[in-house]
């Protein structure tokens, strides 16, 4: 089983790396390598799915309870979310942001033992599956929303500066990027809310202190709630919501990651 997991790591990693390189090539010469890139994403994601299945079958408890394991699951969720519309030509450019990140994080997860088939948590499976699964799914959504927002700002800059080649690079419209950023957060935030609620419910029943990680998670929740209120109630659009999505994501990265590790 351990060997099987190792065998599956390689095609997943190779697929993601190939996709990352192909997306860079596609960015330089639009249209030429996008097919290779999307196949890299598909193959990598399928291999990683098989890897997760093997890990789940092998583990005694919840197999992704370590930070490296969570990273492995997080990469799978990000790439899966990207695959929902990343296969469509205008959205392939998003792969230029998502796939190098996915390849790098997957490499870190593997190097840190998160892609092996040993281990498992002693904490209740159901609780962890809900709590960690929902929070990671929400963070995957926030990552994607940040990618969409970055793409919005990049394209806005090109449109504003009248870049002659603005139409040569296939990309979604500004309206589509703005809408999708809002919708992605709209889907991800309930997942975070539910994940936090499950965590706090357990904290209430089994006792325990309120730590820094929980504080950052609550802060993240507040930031994205503010995003949704401003986007859908106050009528914020375009550049302002893109910056807001990026700022909230920066909060996730700069606060959550160090707090989780140290």
């Amino acid at each position: 089983m351990g060997e099987l997991a190792l065998i599956l790591v390689w095609p997943a990693l190779a697929g993601y790396l190939e996709a990352a390189v192909a997306y860079v090539g596609d960015g330089l010469h639009p249209g030429r390598l996008s097919r290779f890139a999307i196949w890299g994403v598909r193959v990598g994601w399928l291999a990683q799915t098989a890897l997760l299945v093997v890990q789940a079958a092998r583990a005694d408890g919840f197999p992704w309870s370590t930070w490296a394991g969570s990273l492995n699951l997080f990469v799978w969720l990000v790439v899966g979310a990207y695959l929902i519309w990343g296969c469509r030509a205008p959205y392939r450019l998003l792969g230029l942001l998502v796939m190098p990140l996915a390849a790098m994080l997957f490499l870190i997860a593997w190097a840190s033992g998160g892609a092996g088939s040993d281990g498992g948590s002693e904490v209740g499976d159901l609780f962890l599956a809900f709590h960690v699964g929902l929070i990671l799914a929400a963070f995957a959504g926030f990552t994607l929303a940040a990618g969409l927002a970055a793409l919005y700002l990049w394209q806005e800059r090109r449109l504003k500066s009248h870049a002659p080649g603005v139409l040569r690079q296939r990309a979604p419209s500004q309206a589509a990027l703005d809408t999708l950023t809002g919708r992605t957060v709209l889907v991800a935030l309930p997942a975070l809310t539910l994940g936090l609620a499950v965590g706090f419910a357990r904290l209430g029943s089994e006792g325990g202190g309120f730590d820094a990680l929980m504080a950052v998670a609550v802060l993240t929740w507040a930031a994205y709630t503010a995003f949704l209120v401003l986007r859908f109630e106050a009528g914020w659009r375009g550049r302002r919501t893109a910056y807001l999505a990026l700022a909230a994501f920066a909060l996730v990265v700069t606060a959550l990651v160090p707090v989780a590790h140290f």
Partner: protein, 429 residues
């Protein structure tokens, strides 16, 4: 049978001559039937940029003469008068030319989308008229495939080639689909008209025309089923519209940054796209600095068009490689036609020998059970197939190397084949 193409295009003939040579939909079937004559094939491709007659005949010179005569008659000229404007291509060169046409590599603007539909139309007309035989069927089906491949595998047709289409595509990059969008046209001149037509063809819902002369604005608005007013109504309209096309003859800016800024406050962040094709400009360039405002003047649009046409040329190099690959495939198929009758004859002869020998041995095979009888049939058929496999392959290879006729004659001589034999002819077909 040989393939001959006689025609003219925008490379050779002025528009006046192309107009005269244009073959309309009603005349096309009559023309191709005359061109195909008794046993030939013919397709007439006629667009605003070209009229080309594709004829298949056993005698290429006769086919060429017929095509020349038809084109001269269409142009109302003598054959010597029309000859300098015509080109003649045969076999591989004709196929390569049609593939380039279908791939829009021979068009005025490489990558234009209409030509593939026009090639399909010409082929369908000939099919309906009964003048598209095996060679033209194969040629045109392959040409359509080349056109589709080039569009799918290259980005030759993806970027705009005119200022109005560049403006429309940039607007789509901001809004996505233009369906349901509202457009404000400033000025009622020809340029506004052209830009508005392109946007309306992409689904723009309502048009508001503002002009110094309300009467002219009303005329243009009536064409688009929109509303009209004087220039003083522009600021209030800015609150609702998505795209502004400006092309007035005014000396100063018709839209200032302050006016747009006031309107943007009421738009709750909805973006607005300005196409300023007026010289001098109508929209203050500083409007571009406002959030959600995108201003493109005529120079900006020209740069986008230049870049995209350059992109099309780059893609054309890749498209040429696809065309060459397909032309080679057609050449191989056409050459294989030289050996197909000989192969069919050889196989028919072998099969008749096998059948007659089985019949002769019938008495001795009577004691066999049905399954044993089937085994013998299968065994003899396999022996025949294995014996003929190598010569068949060799003949096809020779055909691809243009030696097919020599090999075919040798096989006919060695095996005493006669392609008039009905069984062989049936197999060949």
């Amino acid at each position: 049978m040989r393939l001959v193409l006689v025609g003219t295009s925008h490379h050779r003939a002025p528009v006046e001559l192309r107009e005269q040579l244009y073959v309309g939909t009603p005349e096309n079937p009559v023309l191709v039937r005359r061109l195909a004559a008794a046993e030939g094939e013919a397709v007439a491709l006629s667009t605003c940029n070209r009229t080309e007659l594709y004829v298949v005949d056993s005698d290429p010179e006769v086919a060429q003469e017929r095509a020349f005569a038809e084109l001269a008659a269409l142009g109302g000229l003598t054959e010597s008068e029309i000859a300098p404007s015509l080109y003649t291509l045969t076999d591989d060169a004709a196929a390569l030319h049609l593939f380039r046409v279908a791939a829009s590599l021979d068009s005025m603007i490489p990558g234009e989308a209409q030509i593939l539909g026009q090639v399909r139309g010409a082929y369908e007309t000939a099919k309906a008229a009964g003048t598209a035989g095996p060679i033209l069927h194969r040629l045109f089906r392959q040409a359509l495939r080349v056109g589709r491949r080039v569009r799918a595998e290259t980005a030759i047709g993806e970027n705009p080639a005119s200022i109005s289409s560049a403006a429309a595509e940039l607007a789509e990059r901001v809004f996505g689909t233009l369906e349901g969008r509202r457009i404000l046209v400033l000025g009622a001149g020809k340029m506004s008209d052209l830009a508005a037509v392109n946007l309306i063809s992409r689904g723009v819902e309502s048009v508001f025309v503002a002009n110094r002369s309300v009467e002219r604005a009303e005329r243009l608005a009536k064409r688009f089923g929109g509303r009209a007013a004087g220039l003083d109504a522009v600021e209030s309209e800015l609150e609702d519209v998505d795209i502004v096309v400006a092309s007035t003859g005014a000396r100063g800016f018709v839209l200032s940054k302050e006016q747009v800024e006031r309107a943007m406050k009421k738009r709750r962040g909805r973006p607005i796209f300005f196409v300023d094709i007026a010289v001098p400009r109508d929209v203050d360039p500083a409007v571009n600095e406002l959030e959600g405002c995108y201003v493109y003047d005529v120079d900006d649009l020209e740069r986008v068009v230049e870049e995209s046409v350059a992109g099309r040329r780059e893609e054309a190099v890749r498209a040429e490689a696809i065309v060459a690959e397909e032309a080679e495939r057609f050449r191989a198929w056409q050459l294989s036609l030289d050996v197909v009758p000989a192969i069919a004859s050889l196989r028919a002869r072998a099969e008749s020998i096998r059948a007659s020998e089985l019949e002769r041995a019938g008495g001795r095979l009577n004691s066999l059970s049905p399954s044993e009888r089937r085994a013998v049939e299968s065994l003899t058929a396999q022996i025949v197939n294995k014996l003929l496999h190598a010569p068949t392959v060799r003949m096809k290879q020779a055909a691809a190397a243009a030696d097919g006729v020599l090999y075919a004659d040798a096989v006919r001589h060695l095996f005493d084949l006669d392609e008039r034999d009905p069984q062989a002819r049936q197999q060949g077909e």
